[in-house]
């Protein structure tokens, strides 16, 4: 699914955000990416989204060399991955329904597909009853769910979630990861970026730690049955 070889990202400001990254994520995996603020987590996500290209090295997603994508090929590529941003990036004036429908429309779906798919993904995140509400009327946790529903709208093979629990209390955070795990069980590869170690320890699985732009830890650990707040 994701393959990075010898990747370096050097920002023009002089920061080396990522240094010699070698990373391989298989289809169907669930991966936590952890690390301190400024470690390069979001930069890693931007690479996978092709928001930026590496200064050196190569990034492959679904077998495609992202540096070689140009113009509308980038748009077509992005339709195959779902992204949930830390700040949600929903359209506040639109309803919940319209926000999700929007992603489908952008991907040139038919009206019929939109009518079928939107309620389906909204029910998946339990936001069906609030479909007609404006996004600005929702709580942070609800907006988070809408953002996930939108990311899932085009049935992506890869779902990338950046700091999804930043705005949530612990209880909702655990529920959210539970939901992502559920989505993963249905076949979607999930990459979740977080700095909440407790959460990671509780759920277990593959954990990649970034420190000053380098991978310092990449192992699969077992989960525990209790959680600390």
């Amino acid at each position: 699914m994701v393959d990075m070889k010898n990747v370096n990202v050097h920002y023009s400001s002089g920061v080396d955000a990522l240094v010699d990254i070698d990373l391989h994520i298989n289809d169907g995996e669930f991966v936590f990416i952890v690390g301190e603020s400024g470690a390069g987590k979001s930069t890693l996500m931007k690479l996978m989204l092709r928001e930026i290209v590496p200064s050196t090295g190569r990034v492959f997603v679904n077998g495609r060399n992202l540096s070689a994508l140009k113009g509308n090929k980038i748009a077509m590529f992005r339709r195959t991955i779902g992204v949930v941003f830390q700040e949600f990036r929903l359209i506040q004036d639109y309803t919940v329904y319209e926000n999700v429908a929007f992603a489908l429309r952008v991907a040139d779906s038919s009206n019929k597909t939109i009518r079928q798919r939107v309620p389906y993904v909204l029910n998946l995140v339990e936001m069906g009853p609030k479909a007609k509400h404006k996004v600005r009327e929702l709580s942070g946790g609800e907006q988070q769910r809408v953002a996930i529903a939108r990311a899932l709208a085009n049935d992506p093979g890869l779902l990338i979630v950046d700091e999804p629990t930043g705005n949530l209390d612990p209880k909702h955070s655990y529920e959210l990861v539970g939901l992502l795990k559920e989505i993963n069980r249905c076949g979607t590869t999930v990459v979740m970026i977080t700095h909440e170690h407790n959460l990671v320890r509780y759920f277990g699985g593959r954990i990649i730690n970034l420190d000053k732009g380098s991978i310092t830890f990449d192992e699969t650990i077992g989960g525990s049955d209790y959680y600390e707040e």
């Binding site: 989204l49 113009g71 748009a75 339709r79 990036r89 992603a103 040139d108 085009n154």
Partner: protein, 308 residues
């Protein structure tokens, strides 16, 4: 792109015109002024060319016979015969034709599709149409000399040489053309700047949405289409308004011309292009040019501010 999504984007673009109403009105107004100027100039030039063509084709001079109430019919006939003789004798003139008051009235009536006879019958003191000779000039270079020669014939009231008018028309047209072209360039540039600013405001208002669109995989065309619709729509609205105003102005001016120059019209010099024949092409041209200007303005903004 699917039809349902194209119509969605078109609606979005049009609704953006209302959301952005102040800027839209600014674009509309400046576009209207530009298009109106182009339309009216084109109409003027087209008609001027036709009139000049007519004048050059006919080469006619109209000689008006003095109307003296105190003279007898015999005296009058003598006077007319004298004028005819002198005109015939002039080597620079050919095709000397006499048009009596009655013939003139008939001819005018014909030109007016029979509507003039009632009008003429209402005039007190009988037929008001002039008694004239028409002559052709063989050598245009001698026109001034010839005209003053005719003027000095006894019993001649007035000489109308359309050549003077033609020259004036050419001069006006040339002078106008320069000023108008210069103004036009300025107006068109200003139009494009105002439109591109309008679209920029729209792009700015929707910047969040655009960023989101990019991340969910919108193509450049998908992102830009509503803005093009917005720009072109304002252009077409301005084109339609300009067309309506041009037709109105043209109608008013041509009826004005028609009244004052009925006599000239009688000789066939003045056949303005009838509005019916140019109404549709004028509408199309206005809308196409309006839409084009809108598209250029949009292209500038979207290329500059959308970086997709």
């Amino acid at each position: 792109m699917r039809n349902n999504n194209v119509s969605y984007l078109v609606k979005k673009g049009i609704s953006s015109v209302w959301k952005n109403i102040v800027m839209s009105i600014a674009s509309f107004s400046i576009l209207l002024v530009s298009l109106l100027q182009v339309s009216i100039t084109v109409m003027f030039i087209l008609n001027a060319n036709i009139i000049m063509g007519n004048i050059e084709d006919t080469n006619q001079i109209a000689v008006f016979v003095k109307d003296d109430e105190n003279e007898t019919d015999e005296q009058h006939e003598k006077k007319v015969a004298h004028i005819r003789d002198v005109l015939m004798a002039n080597e620079n003139l050919t095709d000397v034709k006499y048009i009596s008051k009655e013939e003139a009235a008939e001819k005018w009536n014909e030109n007016m599709d029979g509507e003039a006879s009632d009008l003429l019958s209402m005039v007190p003191g009988g037929n008001p149409m002039p008694e004239t000779f028409t002559v052709r000039v063989t050598d245009v270079k001698n026109i001034r000399f010839t005209v003053s020669a005719i003027q000095s014939i006894e019993g001649v009231e007035q000489v109308n040489a359309p050549y003077d008018f033609a020259n004036a028309l050419v001069n006006i047209r040339n002078a106008f053309s320069l000023i108008i072209v210069a103004m036009l360039v300025v107006l068109i540039l200003v139009s494009i700047i105002v439109i591109s600013n309008t679209i920029r405001t729209s792009v700015f208002a929707r910047r969040n949405e655009i960023t989101i669109m990019k991340y969910v995989g919108a193509t450049n065309g998908f992102i830009k289409l509503p803005f093009f619709v917005e720009g072109c729509f304002v252009g077409i609205l301005a084109g339609t308004a300009s067309w309506g105003l041009t037709c109105f102005v043209y109608n008013s001016v041509s009826s004005l011309f028609g009244d004052n120059l009925a006599v000239w019209q009688m000789f066939g010099f003045f056949n303005l292009i009838p509005i019916e024949t140019i109404r549709l092409p004028l509408l199309l041209a206005n809308c196409v040019v309006g839409a084009l200007l809108g598209a250029v303005g949009t292209m500038i903004s979207t290329n500059k501010y959308l970086k997709v």
